[in-house]
């Protein structure tokens, strides 16, 4: 089945779970919350079958801390949740970033604030791209717009997490998670047994010769020590700039570029396609990495004289990054779909035309 070029018809949530499984994930720590339940449900069968471990934790707090324990051992591990649960995971995520523990975390964003609703939303953009918990840190944030991308990004997230010893976040939403579409799986791989050998915890007697004990920590009390750690982390985040990914659609001759990510990026693409048929010079720019944000690519478009409209399923969050990116040459208009409302391509045509008409 997997890796045989066969297309299978799955939910985005299942695609994420399959991406993790095929990348060698062997520990999953979950907690029920809509709209991500397909992920732990899939993993409750897939992990034991692959010789791994599935734990339904007592809370999102505990699940994220279990993830931290498994990650500290250098084992490929994942947790998933949705917005209210993500707030609870932030404590451990901050510790993981501070103590450089690799892990993959999935947020299938739902409406907020508070209990919000169980429908799609992009209201967690700030939380995702600014770190989310306390302290100065960032996560690598990947935003899929299809089940296939959800599979591929989750698959790739493990390599990124271990290359950079950092938590990596997959930011989807209820649309990506619940929508069913065809995907192709890759041949399942096993994690390299040597992965993380230089730092992982496995006991002082695990190697050929006994070694000094290792400490994975985020507490640095000595004068200058924490500053040094923060400097190290910042240098790591700087090095991520090359990892930027985005999709450009019909931007070459576009007068107005719509900037949108995830499910909204995909819906906006349909609106752009429809308007192109009507001869309108509009294009789409869809960031696939939300952190690092594709600021250089946007700045280049701004320099070319293009104007921008950011469309988001929140009250205006990514627009701040778009405006920062294009600030020397342009600004960005904003069209918000309020969380709680489900957008369609038709809803976007009018605001795009309005923005196109304003010069």
């Amino acid at each position: 089945m997997a890796g045989t070029n066969e297309r299978i018809f799955v939910k985005g949530n299942e695609a994420i779970a399959m991406g993790a499984l095929d990348a060698g994930c062997r520990c999953f720590f979950g907690y029920p919350i809509t709209p991500q339940n397909d992920i732990p449900e899939f993993m409750s069968k897939a992990m034991p079958a692959a010789g791994g471990e599935f734990v339904q934790a007592e809370s999102e707090v505990a699940a994220a801390n279990m993830l931290m324990g498994a990650g500290a051992c250098g084992v490929r591990a994942m947790t998933s949740s949705s917005s209210p649960g993500m707030s609870l995971k932030q404590e451990a995520i901050s510790y993981m970033a501070g103590s450089e523990i690799p892990a993959v975390i999935v947020n299938m964003n739902r409406g907020g604030p508070g209990l919000g609703d169980i429908g799609p939303s992009q209201g967690d953009y700030f939380q995702s791209t600014r770190g989310g918990g306390h302290g100065d840190y960032r996560l690598l944030v990947l935003a899929p717009s299809s089940a296939q991308e959800a599979y591929d990004m989750t698959h790739g997230a493990f390599d990124l997490a271990f290359t950079y010893r950092s938590p990596v976040l997959i930011l989807g939403d209820a649309i990506i998670g619940q929508m069913k579409e065809p995907i192709k799986r890759r041949a399942a791989t096993l994690a390299d047994p040597a992965e993380g050998r230089e730092w992982r915890l496995e006991g002082t007697g695990a190697g050929k010769k006994p070694r000094a004990h290792r400490i994975i920590k985020s507490l640095f009390l000595m004068d200058g020590e924490l500053a040094g750690q923060n400097q190290k982390l910042q240098a790591k985040y700087e090095s991520w700039k090359d990892l930027v990914q985005f999709e450009s659609f019909e931007v070459r001759d576009a007068e107005l570029v719509v900037v949108a990510y995830g499910s909204i990026g995909r819906i906006a693409k349909n609106a752009v396609r429809a308007l192109r048929k009507k001869g309108k010079k509009v294009g789409l720019f869809r960031p696939k990495t939300l952190y690092p944000f594709p600021e250089k690519a946007l700045a280049k478009l701004a320099k070319e004289g293009k104007r921008f409209l950011t469309i988001e399923h929140n009250l205006g969050q990514m627009v701040e990054d778009v405006r920062l990116s294009v600030r020397r040459h342009a600004d960005s208009e904003l069209f918000c779909v309020y969380p709680g409302n489900m957008p369609s391509p038709d809803d976007f045509e009018a605001p795009i035309l309005r923005a196109l008409g304003r010069k």
Partner: protein, 270 residues
């Protein structure tokens, strides 16, 4: 090699040495604090049971956050109260490792109540060392869930009042009620006799894991002279006179015969 061991090579009759798992350095603990005794006990057992080389520990928050500076085993620093969840992650990822947490009463019985209960209830093959000194030590002696009725702390300056702050929580009794617990006991560090008994309990809590039986828990009644505003001798006497009557010593749960708490993790203890 440590100095103590070189003395033995000189042919002296060595009756007391530093365990290899214990670092050769002064601790940051206050005079009369019992963490030193608990650390030593832990290190002795890691040596005696030949576990140190395959141990991964989850340290906690509070005075014992620096456990990793003294116990020479691989350690990950856990958020406040979460060590049992972190330990769960370690053990599930590496069932072949010996995994323990070392937590104080603020960490374990207050903010970490959910994590300790469910870790025990799942029967995770890990061992929890619970140091109960009835105060938050590191932060300056605030009221803990285990603070005795009438005990004065910086956040119950008039003394803990049952009507207002509830009763001190007896963790060993609670943990013993859970299905995943294979061994659970409460010892005390106030006297030589009790210290010896406490070490036996700790060994049994280790064995619950190494034999793959289930979750192991040992509570240690400990002194905090600084935050109790007592000298070390008076602090020991307080444990004897006030703590032990409320927190009775003994084994609260012990599996008999070939009983286990199920087969959660394959291969452990083989």
């Amino acid at each position: 090699m440590p100095k103590a061991n070189t003395a033995a090579q000189a042919g002296e009759d060595l009756v007391f040495t530093r365990p290899n798992a214990l670092a050769d350095r002064a601790t940051h603990y206050c005079p009369g604090c019992h963490h030193g005794i608990a650390h030593r006990m832990l290190a002795e057992l890691l040596d005696e049971m030949d576990l140190a080389g395959r141990t991964v520990a989850a340290s906690s928050i509070g005075c014992s956050v620096f456990l990793y500076n003294y116990i020479q085993v691989d350690t990950v620093e856990s958020p406040h109260g979460r060590a049992p969840a972190v330990a769960t992650g370690i053990k599930r990822a590496r069932p072949d490792k010996f995994v323990f947490t070392y937590q104080g009463d603020g960490d374990l019985a207050s903010i970490g109540m959910a994590e300790i209960m469910h870790c025990a209830n799942r029967g995770e093959r890990v061992t929890v060392v619970f140091v109960n000194n009835t105060v938050y030590g590191m932060t300056g002696g605030q009221m803990a869930p285990t603070t005795l009725i009438g005990q004065k702390t910086t956040t119950c300056p008039g003394g803990r009042c049952q009507d207002r702050e509830g009763s001190p929580i007896r963790m060993a009794e609670i943990i013993s009620q859970l299905g995943g617990t294979a061994f659970c006991a409460r010892g005390s560090l106030d006297s030589v006799k009790n210290i010896r008994q406490a070490k036996k309990y700790m060994r049994q809590a280790f064995e619950a894991q190494t034999k793959g039986l289930g979750f192991g828990f040992v509570e240690l009644l400990s002194g905090c002279p600084t935050n109790w505003r007592l000298n070390p001798v008076a602090a020991n006497k307080r444990i004897t006179d006030e703590m032990i009557p409320y927190f009775p010593l003994g084994v609260y749960k012990e599996l008999s015969g070939d009983d286990t708490c199920g087969a959660l993790v394959a291969g452990e203890g083989k």
